[in-house]
Amino acid sequence: MAEFQIEREVVIDAPVEVVWRTITEPEQIRQWFADRVELELEPGGRGLMSFEDRAVPFVVEAVEPPIRFAFRWNHPAGEEPAAGNSTLVEFTLVGEGERTRLRVAERGLDLVAWPNAEKDRYAEEHRGGWATFMDRLARLLAERRRG
């Protein structure tokens, strides 16, 4: 049901507990994400990622050590992030012996307030996600330019 979605994964030669600390401890997050990080590691906890030119607030959505960590961001200034106005970043960790499969998904707005049949049709049409949608638009545009 989720709409535009980017999903990426990587396999890491380290146990889940180690990877969990890498993605949730502010001193470590600093090394792969932002220049400065403030974070209350609990559902509903506030956070702030500071980059060179801007500071981006986020709100923690899920903390399930050591398998799931999620936060919302990209919401309009002055608003509380929720399903309708922000993107959700979700990390999932799966232990595979001494290794960890780390997956990250960033997804956008849900199809709220649409009739169900319409929702299903639309979700089906866009199952490939946001990137596929954009690819298709780009193709159509190219065809129109040629034609």
């Binding site: 709409e3 890498t22 090394q31 792969w32 956008g108 639309y122 545009l141």
Partner: protein
């Protein structure tokens, strides 16, 4: 040209209803608000609001024909949006690579400590 998605562009295309409107405009070339409203499961007012947001993000432009206002997609701007999306995916790839390096370094250190003499 910067490939960093601006907030405006980002929120304009993050909404599925707006993407639907955008989709129709790409397929049809040019359309009025009422033509669009007849083809989407939301109200004419909602269509008008979406058109305003898309226009502010410069994804579409308008022109007047008689008494009608016709909207059309800005292809260059849409290309830019597509690239912004690819860039976002690349950003996550880079972050995951760094996470991998960090976690593996920590793990190797721990192993050395516990496994060493």
């Amino acid at each position: 040209m910067s490939t960093e998605p601006s907030d405006e562009l980002w929120s304009a295309i993050a909404d599925p209803s707006r993407r639907r409107v955008l989709d129709l405009l790409v397929r049809n070339g040019e359309a009025s608000a009422s033509w669009l409203a007849g083809r989407v499961p939301f109200s004419r007012q909602a269509v008008s609001k979406h058109l305003v947001v898309l226009e502010q993000a410069r994804l579409i432009s308008r022109r007047k024909q008689g008494r009608e206002v016709l909207y059309q997609v800005d292809a260059d701007r849409l290309d830019q949006a597509t690239r912004a999306m690819a860039e976002l995916a690349r950003q996550w790839d880079r972050r995951l690579d760094t996470i991998k390096r960090l976690a593996e370094a920590v793990h190797a250190q721990t192993k050395d400590k516990t496994g060493g003499p």
